[in-house]
């Protein structure tokens, strides 16, 4: 027994055991690098690793799946250039990045089967803000909302609400809007963070361009007017999002902070 125990403590062990150690995960950094090099240079060793991976993988079935925050996908898509290479804000319609942005938006909308890509749309919209929507080139794939939406606002339901949830799924803010009066009221649900930043509210209508609805106090319910031009953009297809910005709001009207909460708009009541 003694001799075999000693043989089991010697380094390195037999190759099939080494492959098992690698897959199990007990090797230290240099041991792992050694094993990874061996996989490249020896087909036999690579097959041993395949064996262990195939057999031990069943253990992973015991691990409870964990929901991944939406922004992780947005980061992956962004890092891989899957959605948009145009990450700089668009100052005007002539910006050559505009086309790829709209293409990317179309890409996102095609991919969006549920709310999954919502956060990604938010992020890209905020990265591509224009201050004056009327100077933006009408996107080829999206109907221009400014001219068509007021109908819905005047004839349809006027009271709307949105629950803006954080990435962890907890509601962070509740917003209510009335298209008839142009009032929006935002109520923070969570304790304010003492980091010197202020929340800024953004409206992201169907064209994907974020419009600022201003900054507000994070400690109390806040009510303000929605700019006249934006009222027609309120719809159940639009999103509200909140970023954290320096006091006074996003410089140049371009969001600089991360999206901390977001949510879709729902109709509350039918107009009489």
């Amino acid at each position: 027994m003694n001799t075999s125990t000693e043989s089991m403590q010697q380094d390195p062990p037999e190759r099939d055991v080494l492959a098992g150690e690698y897959v199990l995960g007990v090797l230290d950094g240099s041991g792992r690098r050694h094993a990874q090099q061996l996989m490249q240079s020896s087909d036999e060793f690579a097959r041993e690793v395949d064996f262990w991976e195939d057999r031990l993988a069943a253990l992973a079935d015991e691990v409870e799946p964990v929901a991944v925050p939406d922004f992780v996908w947005a980061r992956i898509a962004s890092a891989l250039g899957l959605a948009s290479a145009a990450r700089t804000p668009l100052p005007a319609a002539a910006d050559p990045g505009a086309t790829s942005f709209w293409q990317s938006l179309a890409f996102w909308r095609l991919l969006t089967a549920g709310g999954f890509a919502t956060a990604a749309v938010c992020l890209f919209a905020l990265l591509n803000v224009v201050r004056e929507p009327e100077v933006a080139t009408p996107p080829p794939v999206v109907s221009q909302p400014d001219t068509e939406a007021p109908d819905a606002a005047s004839a349809g339901p006027t009271e709307m609400a949105a629950t803006l949830t954080q990435d962890d799924g907890r509601p962070g803010y509740v917003a209510t809007m009335d298209a008839a009066t142009g009032r929006i009221t935002v109520t923070p649900l969570l304790a304010a963070q003492d980091d010197g930043l202020v929340p800024e509210l953004w409206l992201i209508p169907v064209d994907g361009v974020a419009r600022s609805l201003g900054v507000f106090d994070e400690t109390a319910t806040h009510s303000s007017r929605i700019p006249e031009d934006f009222i027609g953009l309120l719809s159940t297809e639009a999103l509200l999002a909140i970023t954290l910005e320096p006091p006074g709001g996003a410089p140049e009207g371009v969001a600089t902070g991360p999206v901390v909460a977001k949510g879709g708009i729902q109709l509350l009541a039918m107009a009489p």
Partner: protein
């Protein structure tokens, strides 16, 4: 259940199909793959990299690798889910080796839980027979050794940490794990 057998034999390897499409640059397939497998892979990463934000970084790295290296997936060598799971584990373990501060500070699995009692995640059907075989073979190991093997797999901790956590000399831990691997292999090949 005969139906189950029929399903098993004809069951397509959906993550594998999506990986092959991803290898051809199909971004929609890549997103579907992300959507269907990321919660499982995130769970695996979180057991190894306890810090959530770091686990998110690891998951991002995993899928960046999937997008760039999907060509390396060989369906004759592994199922899609196994390939992805092992890629995620390897990235997570490499991460904690490079960042010692982020290691998990738990103990050794002390529940003498027989494998297979835990929640059965997706992919269970695919690996049901493998899992049963693994159950049987792990069940042949003495409980303390089985728990060391399980802790090593789930948390990706080194021999040194296993020795510290279990209060067992390093040489003994090495010997136990290596013996267990030898016995497991013999059993799994039966």
């Amino acid at each position: 259940m005969s139906e189950t057998v029929a399903v098993r034999t004809s069951e397509p390897d959906e993550p594998g199909e999506l990986l092959l499409a991803t290898a051809n640059g199909d971004a929609a397939a890549f997103e579907r793959l992300y959507r269907s497998t990321s919660p499982r892979l995130f769970g695996v990463c979180l057991r190894i990299v306890a810090q959530r934000s770091e686990a998110e970084d690891v998951l991002q790295e995993v899928f960046a690798n999937v997008w760039r290296k999907a060509q390396q997936f060989d369906p004759s060598r592994a199922s899609g889910l196994t390939w992805l799971t092992m890629l995620a584990r390897n990235k997570a373990i490499d991460h904690i080796r490079a960042n010692r501060s982020s290691r998990n500070l738990g103990g050794v699995e002390d529940l003498d839980q027989l494998p297979g009692n835990g929640p059965d995640a997706q992919g269970a059907a695919e690996s049901a027979i493998d899992a049963r075989r693994l159950d049987v073979c792990l069940g042949e190991l003495e409980a303390p050794r089985r728990n060391l093997v399980r802790t090593a797999f789930f948390e990706g901790v080194t021999y040194e940490e296993l020795a510290q956590r279990s209060g067992t000399p390093l040489g003994t831990v090495k010997s136990w794990i290596r013996r267990s691997l030898v016995r497991l292999k013999a059993c799994l090949e039966r």
